[in-house]
Structures are given as structure tokens and as C-alpha cells.
């Protein structure tokens, strides 16, 4: 091997940075503010005040903005070695993996309730001995259209303490309950999201072949599809609350439904925003070349991840 010192490309270690401290201030203000506001709303008698949280979020957003800006500038200035870029790739990959595990917790909860604890509550298996003492008359079905509380005739008839009233929906989001297939929003959402995974791929190919206008066009289409998805999802939530009686309070069906689709929807929003930023960078600042476009690539991986999660949701929340 030749002399290491001469062949070695320097790994860029920034001298110092104040961003972490400001990001900390933003993060702590927003979490502390959120906790305070929630406690005011649930346990207090006064109005909940979200001011601290909003200020924190603004600081946090501003720091993230300048953090990414500095990182991009450094890259454009040629400070990033091939090795550093690989660190970003590894970082992004494991970040997405951690997100997968976050969703896994909620999917796990769903499977557990559907295959084990739900039937047990209704007296199946080894839980059967207690059913007539605690939840007499509760029948298990999925989507759960009657909570154990309702089965025994409301909170006042209930033996166990709990935190409130759980009124189940009168109509679920499952495919079995739609009037006509074309009125079924989740199907349209599936089509939109799967298509968008394709369009982002076409954009990538365009970039790789040096065709920037093709890149911009298909990236724009992808962002548009993301926006439509979020819009339809909001419409679905409106329907759920206004016409189906399906709310966060609708027992464990409502809990799992809204938490899974809600976190997914939030991630779609994030992904759309990320891709949108890349689009603006490309259009306004002319960023990205066929061999240097990590910001776009990372966002597109994120997008594919969001897509895969949706397929899981579509199967286990809506169809099966």
C-alpha cells in the first residue's frame, strides 16, 4: 500500500457548532410546553396554553433549517469527502430502521388485540373463567363495534375502574362496509401512494441520466400526489368523526385505527415536505447533479418507507 498520508482524503470534522444547543432549547421548550398544555387540558380547570410549545417548535424549525442549510453549503463547497457522504447514507438507513420499529410497536399492539386479548375478553381460552364476572355479554369481532363497557351497559355497570367512556363507532372503515367500491377512500389512497413511489423513481432516473427537467417534473408530480393523499386522509378523518361515530374514544378499534393511520399520515406529510424542499432546491438553486444528490435520495428512501408502511396498513387496518 502506498503512503497513507498522501492518499488519504480528510474527513471533515466541523470545528464547533452552536446549533445543537439551540436545537435543544427548541426541543425542550416544545416537549415541556406540550406536556404542560396537556395537563392543563386534562387535569386543570383553566384553559390550556400552547404558547411555550409553539415558540419551541418555531425555534426548532429555525434551527433545523439553518442546520440543513449549513450542511448543504459545506457539501457545495466541496468539504464532504466520499467517506462522509457514506456516513450520511448509513445514518439515514438506520434512522428509517428506527422508524420501522416505531410502527412495529403499533402493529404489534394491533395484532395482539386482534388475535389474543380481544377473544380472551369475550371469554375464549384461558380468560374465559372471568368473562361473566367482568364483561358479561361481550362478543368479540373485528372491527370491534361494541366495547366491553357498552356490552355491560355503560360505565356505571362496570366492575373495573378506567379513564372514561368508550363509545364505539356505528360504522367502520373496513372494506366490507362500503356502499360502492369507488367511494372507498383507502383504495384511492393506495393507488395514489403506490403511484407516487413510481413517480419518485422516474424522477431519480431522470436525475441519473442528467435530465433535470424530467427530474423536476416527476418530483413535482410526486409532491402533488403526496398532498392529495394527505387531503384525502383528512377527508376520511372528517367522515369518521362526522358520519361514522368513529373517534379516538371508540374503544381499541378507534385507538389502533387513528394511531396507525395518524402516525402514517404524519409521516406522509413529513415526506411530502422533504420532497418539496428538494424540489425547491432544484428549481430555485439548481442543486443536484447526477452523481451528487443525497438530499433527494434520502427523501426518496423515506418516501418508499412510508409507502411500504401504507401497504401494511391497507392490509391489516382496512382489508383483513
Amino acid at each position: 500500500m502506498s503512503d497513507q498520508a498522501t492518499t488519504h482524503e480528510k474527513y471533515y470534522v466541523p470545528e464547533k457548532s452552536s446549533m445543537a444547543v439551540f436545537a435543544t432549547i427548541g426541543l425542550i421548550m416544545s416537549t415541556f410546553g406540550a406536556a404542560t398544555a396537556m395537563n392543563q387540558a386534562t387535569f386543570g380547570d383553566g384553559e390550556a396554553s400552547f404558547t411555550t410549545m409553539y415558540i419551541g417548535l418555531c425555534i426548532f424549525a429555525a434551527v433545523l433549517f439553518s442546520w440543513f442549510r449549513i450542511t448543504i453549503k459545506e457539501n457545495l463547497a466541496g468539504m464532504n469527502s466520499v467517506q462522509l457522504k457514506k456516513s450520511y447514507v448509513i445514518g439515514m438507513f438506520w434512522f428509517i430502521f428506527s422508524e420501522v420499529m416505531f410502527f412495529a410497536a403499533f402493529f404489534g399492539a394491533l395484532f395482539y388485540v386482534r388475535t389474543l386479548s380481544g377473544p380472551w375478553l369475550a371469554g375464549e381460552g384461558e380468560g374465559g373463567a372471568w368473562n361473566h364476572l367482568l364483561w358479561e355479554g361481550f362478543q368479540y369481532s373485528w372491527p370491534m363495534m361494541q366495547t366491553p363497557q357498552e356490552a355491560v351497559g355503560g360505565v356505571s355497570n362496570q366492575v373495573m375502574a378506567n379513564m372514561g367512556t368508550f363509545t364505539s363507532a356505528h360504522k367502520s372503515m373496513a372494506f366490507a362496509e362500503v356502499d360502492a367500491w369507488y367511494k372507498w377512500l383507502p383504495m384511492w389512497n393506495t393507488i395514489i401512494l403506490l403511484t407516487s413511489s413510481g413517480t419518485v423513481h422516474i424522477a431519480h432516473e431522470g436525475l441519473l441520466s442528467g435530465n433535470k427537467s424530467r427530474f423536476n417534473l416527476w418530483l413535482g408530480i410526486t409532491v402533488g400526489l403526496g398532498v392529495i393523499f394527505v387531503g384525502l386522509q383528512m377527508l376520511e378523518y372528517y367522515e369518521a368523526y362526522a358520519h361514522f361515530g368513529l373517534t379516538l374514544n371508540s374503544g381499541v378499534y378507534g385507538s389502533t385505527f387513528f394511531m396507525l393511520t395518524g402516525f402514517h399520515g404524519f409521516h406522509v406529510l413529513m415526506g411530502t415536505f422533504m420532497l418539496g424542499v428538494q424540489l425547491v432546491r432544484s428549481l430555485k438553486a439548481g442543486h443536484f447533479t447526477s452523481d451528487d444528490h443525497f438530499g433527494f435520495e434520502a427523501s426518496s428512501w423515506y418516501w418508499h418507507f412510508v409507502d411500504v408502511v401504507w401497504v401494511g396498513l391497507f392490509l391489516f387496518v382496512y382489508i383483513l
Binding site: 435543544t24 425542550i28 456516513s87 438506520w94 420499529m101 416505531f102
Partner: protein, 520 residues
């Protein structure tokens, strides 16, 4: 970019704005020590209350807050950050890297920790008191019956989880991407290996913990019913989600400790580690198994018999790779020319006491027997043997071992050895009797107890005060070393030590390996 060397900045901004792995490592280490003292103070209150039967000092509600915060602070504030600090200091130096892969994020991972713990500790002064539902925060204690401060607890768990995830991603990127040319995976020091695997575990399970506290938050504030049977959920679901995180978590705590003793025992036996490859595979096997044993914490909640059996056998399997490790450490010492400086003493202490903890773990893993042991002091004894005599002893060994390299000064060996013996005796006096009271039926997390347990509990409390006091001596020794220890400039502070960290100057310069070393 000039190639000239920069020393540290002056004043507070050095620490606030730093991107240097050594500075960040130092901050993690001091922070974790502060948390160790705080969590230790809570433990002293617990032991003072339990000194005699009857209610002595504190209200039962406050007692519960103490056990809860003691556990949370020791696990998340003391042990985990201390090993992250060690990883920051040592991994780049051990693999010949100029720094961690993502230095700015590294700084952020650290700085969100202190406020998170400040928020957690401040719950003590809130209306309704601090969380009192145990460090495992089972629902519905932590939902339906929780004090309002639980919301702050939830968000502080979120923040420290974020810190752990970012820290682990950084470690993974560093190990995968920053090794000096020639430093192949199978040449990496075992400490680096164990941390790499630990980081995988962290990235996999911290998000699950985040999921668990999110479900709690939703149940408390937004009317969901994940953990409420009335709405069709199940409190036991909480335990499954928690322990899916919790069991890997105990390996997150112990694997870096394994790594440390795998560095120290060869150095003072003046022999290479016996069975290096098998150590790596055993670590990986333990990590894999740790994902499929979680319900051994739940034998008594009413699982189907098939579940009891599955989790029982899977748990017992873990003893096999663990046994491989213990065998290898002993065999490393076999016929070595051993010497017994403080780091070695703590490592041998680790070996003996951790093995005892492993055996009690094996006893607990037997489902029918666990019906007797569960939630008794026997469990308390078990996990203190593995977490204190395991993780904390090995961390202490690590500090004595690398401190001379960090600051270029030698600690006081006599005081170090005294610290070891007092700790060793204090620890065993505290926790060995807890096996007996546990087997005899004394429940854990109770401020009062039946009279027949009085003698053993008094012993436990005396031992705890001794162990606690010996940590003050440790603190004194470390500070005395840093300010006035005997200077040393030997690159190899310990003649038997191997590894790249012993090839750089002593004290370790601010920047090391800006050009990678050649590794043969």
C-alpha cells in the same frame, strides 16, 4: 481547509459547542456520574426506610416515588450514558478514526439529556408528586392511577430515547465507516464489537419504548383505550410492549460491560483474549435471543401455557452464549502472568458477581419456580448482581483503566484498591441477603415488611451505606488524579495493554488519528 491543529476552545463555549468526541465523551461521563450520585441518594433513602420494620422516615407514597426514580435514573441516566461516554472517547481511538462519524449530531445527542433528566427530577416538586409506578411503569398504574406528572415523565422518556437513537446511529456509522485501513471487522477490539451490537439493539428497541409511552399518553389525554379493558384493550399489552423493549435493554446495559472486561482481563493477564471469534458470535447470539425472551418477566400475568414454555426455553438458551463468555474470560486468565491493579480487581469482581447474577437469572427463567420468586426481593438481588456488580463494576474498571490515558496522570493505586474492596464487600452485604428474604417471600417495592425479615434488611441497609460511601472515595480519587495525580507520559500506561488507543501520546491529544494509522 488548513491542516493546522486546533486545540480546544476556551471557557464554556468549548463544552456547549464542541464537536470533539473526547469533549463529548467527558461530558457524558460526568453527567452519568452526577446521575449515579442522585440515583444513589434515592437508594440511600430507600435503604434508610427499610433499615427497620415499621414506617420509619418517609410516607409510603414518597417511598414509591423513590424506587421509581431510583430505577429510572440509574438505568437511563447513569449506566446508559456512562457507556455512551466511554464509546465516544474510545471507539474512534480504538479503530483509528479522527472523530465520530457525525460530530454535530453527537453534541446534540448529549445536550438533550441533562434537560430531560431535569424535567424528570422536577416531577418530585409537582402537584401529586413524582411518578410512583415503578421503573417499569405498568399500566394502569401509570395511566388510570398516575399522578399528573406522568405527562412530563412521558416526554422526558421521549427525549432521552431520541438521544439514545441518535447516539447509536452515530456509533453504527462510525464503526461501519471510519475504521482505519486494515482494521477489518474481525480485528476490532471487543469493546467496539459489543458497542456495535448494542447500538443495533438500541435502534431497534428505543422506538418501541417511544411507542409504549405514546400509547400511555394517548390513553391518559386523548381517550384511547390501548391499556383499558373497558374499551377492548388490555393492560397486559403494556407489559408486552414494555418488555419487548425492556429485555433487550438489559443487554444494552450489559454488552458494553462485556466489552470492557474483554479489554481489561487480557491486559492484566498479559495474554490475548481467549476465543476472540467465539466472543463476537456469542455477543451476536445474545443480542438475537434478547428479542425473543421478553415475556419471562410476565410468567405470572396469565399467559397461555405454550407461551410460558416458549419463553422459558428461549430464556434458558441465553445461558449458553453467556457461558461461552465466562469460559473465555476465565481461560484468558489461565496461566497468564497476572497482576491485580484496580481495573483488574473490578473486572474479576465483575466476573464472579455477574456469574452469580446469571445463575439467579437461570433460576428465574424456570416458569414454575418464578411463580414463587416473581416480584420478590430475589428478583431485586438478581438484577442488582447483573446491573451493579455487572455494568457498574465494569464501568468503574474502565475509568481506572483509561483515566491515565485520558488525563496523563496516574490515580492513587492504594486508594483504588481500597475502593474496590469496600465496594465489593459493601455490595455483597447489601444484596446477598436479599436472595434469602426474597426466597422467604418478602415482596419488592414495599416500605414495610414482616418482622422475620428484620435482620437481613438491616444487613442490607448497612451494606448499602458502605457501598454508597465508597463511591465518594471513587469521586475523590478521580478528581485528585485529574488535578494532582502523578504525571505519566508513557504511551502504554499498562505494559500488557494492546490496541491503537495505547499508541497515541499520553495524555491523549485533543485530535487523534487525523490521518489513519496503518493496521497490520
Amino acid at each position: 481547509m488548513g491542516d493546522h491543529h486546533h486545540g480546544p476552545a476556551q471557557g464554556l463555549s468549548r463544552w456547549l459547542f464542541t464537536t470533539n468526541h473526547k469533549d463529548i465523551g467527558t461530558m457524558y461521563l460526568w453527567f452519568s456520574f452526577a446521575m449515579f450520585i442522585l440515583g444513589g441518594a434515592f437508594a440511600m433513602i430507600i435503604r434508610a426506610e427499610l433499615f427497620q420494620p415499621g414506617m420509619q422516615l418517609v410516607e409510603p407514597a414518597f417511598f414509591n416515588q423513590m424506587t421509581t426514580l431510583h430505577g429510572l435514573i440509574m438505568v437511563f441516566g447513569a449506566i446508559m450514558p456512562s457507556f455512551v461516554g466511554l464509546a465516544n472517547w474510545m471507539i474512534p481511538m480504538m479503530i483509528g478514526a479522527p472523530d465520530m462519524a457525525l460530530p454535530r449530531m453527537n453534541n446534540w445527542s448529549f445536550w438533550i439529556l441533562p434537560p430531560a433528566f431535569l424535567i424528570l427530577a422536577s416531577t418530585l416538586f409537582m402537584e401529586g408528586g413524582a411518578p410512583a409506578f415503578g421503573w417499569t411503569f405498568y399500566a394502569p398504574l401509570s395511566t388510570t392511577y398516575a399522578p399528573p406528572s406522568v405527562t412530563y415523565f412521558i416526554f422526558s422518556i421521549h427525549v432521552l430515547g431520541l438521544s439514545s437513537i441518535m447516539g447509536s446511529i452515530n456509533i453504527i456509522a462510525t464503526v461501519m465507516n471510519m475504521r482505519a485501513p486494515g482494521m477489518t471487522y474481525m480485528k476490532m477490539p471487543l469493546f467496539v464489537w459489543t458497542w456495535l451490537i448494542t447500538a443495533f439493539l438500541l435502534v431497534a428497541v428505543m422506538p418501541v419504548l417511544a411507542g409504549a409511552v405514546t400509547m400511555m399518553l394517548m390513553d391518559i389525554h386523548f381517550g384511547t383505550s390501548f391499556f383499558s379493558a373497558a374499551g377492548g384493550g388490555d393492560p397486559v399489552l403494556f407489559q408486552h410492549v414494555f418488555w419487548f423493549f425492556g429485555h433487550p435493554e438489559v443487554y444494552i446495559i450489559i454488552l458494553p460491560a462485556f466489552g470492557v472486561v474483554s479489554q481489561i482481563i487480557p491486559a492484566f493477564s498479559r495474554k490475548p483474549l481467549f476465543g476472540y471469534a467465539s466472543m463476537v458470535y456469542a455477543t451476536a447470539a445474545i443480542a438475537f435471543l434478547s428479542f425473543i425472551v421478553w415475556a419471562h418477566h410476565m410468567y405470572t400475568v396469565g399467559m397461555p401455557i405454550a407461551g410460558e414454555l416458549f419463553f422459558m426455553y428461549a430464556t434458558m438458551l441465553i445461558a449458553v452464549p453467556t457461558g461461552v463468555k465466562v469460559f473465555n474470560w476465565i481461560t484468558t486468565m489461565w496461566r497468564g502472568s497476572m497482576s491485580f491493579e484496580t481495573p483488574m480487581l473490578f473486572s474479576i469482581g465483575f466476573l464472579v458477581l455477574f456469574t452469580i447474577g446469571g445463575f439467579t437469572g437461570l433460576m428465574l427463567s424456570i416458569a414454575p419456580a418464578d411463580f414463587q420468586y416473581h416480584d420478590s426481593y430475589f428478583v431485586v438481588a438478581h438484577f442488582h448482581y447483573v446491573m451493579v456488580a455487572g455494568a457498574v463494576f465494569s464501568m468503574t474498571a474502565a475509568v481506572y483503566y483509561w483515566l491515565p490515558k485520558w488525563c496523563g496522570r496516574m490515580y492513587n493505586e492504594t486508594m483504588g484498591k481500597t475502593h474496590f474492596w469496600i465496594s465489593f464487600i459493601g455490595f455483597n452485604v447489601t444484596f446477598f441477603p436479599q436472595h434469602f428474604v426474597g426466597l422467604a417471600g418478602m415482596p419488592r417495592r414495599i416500605p414495610d415488611y414482616a418482622l422475620q425479615f428484620a435482620d437481613f434488611n438491616m444487613m442490607s441497609s448497612i451494606g448499602a451505606f458502605i457501598y454508597g460511601a465508597s463511591q465518594i472515595m471513587f469521586l475523590y480519587n478521580v478528581i485528585a488524579t485529574i488535578v494532582a495525580g502523578k504525571p505519566t507520559s508513557d504511551e502504554k500506561v499498562w505494559d500488557g495493554a494492546e490496541g491503537l488507543e495505547w499508541t497515541v501520546a499520553t495524555p491523549a491529544p485533543y485530535h487523534t488519528f487525523e490521518t489513519p494509522p496503518a493496521v497490520r
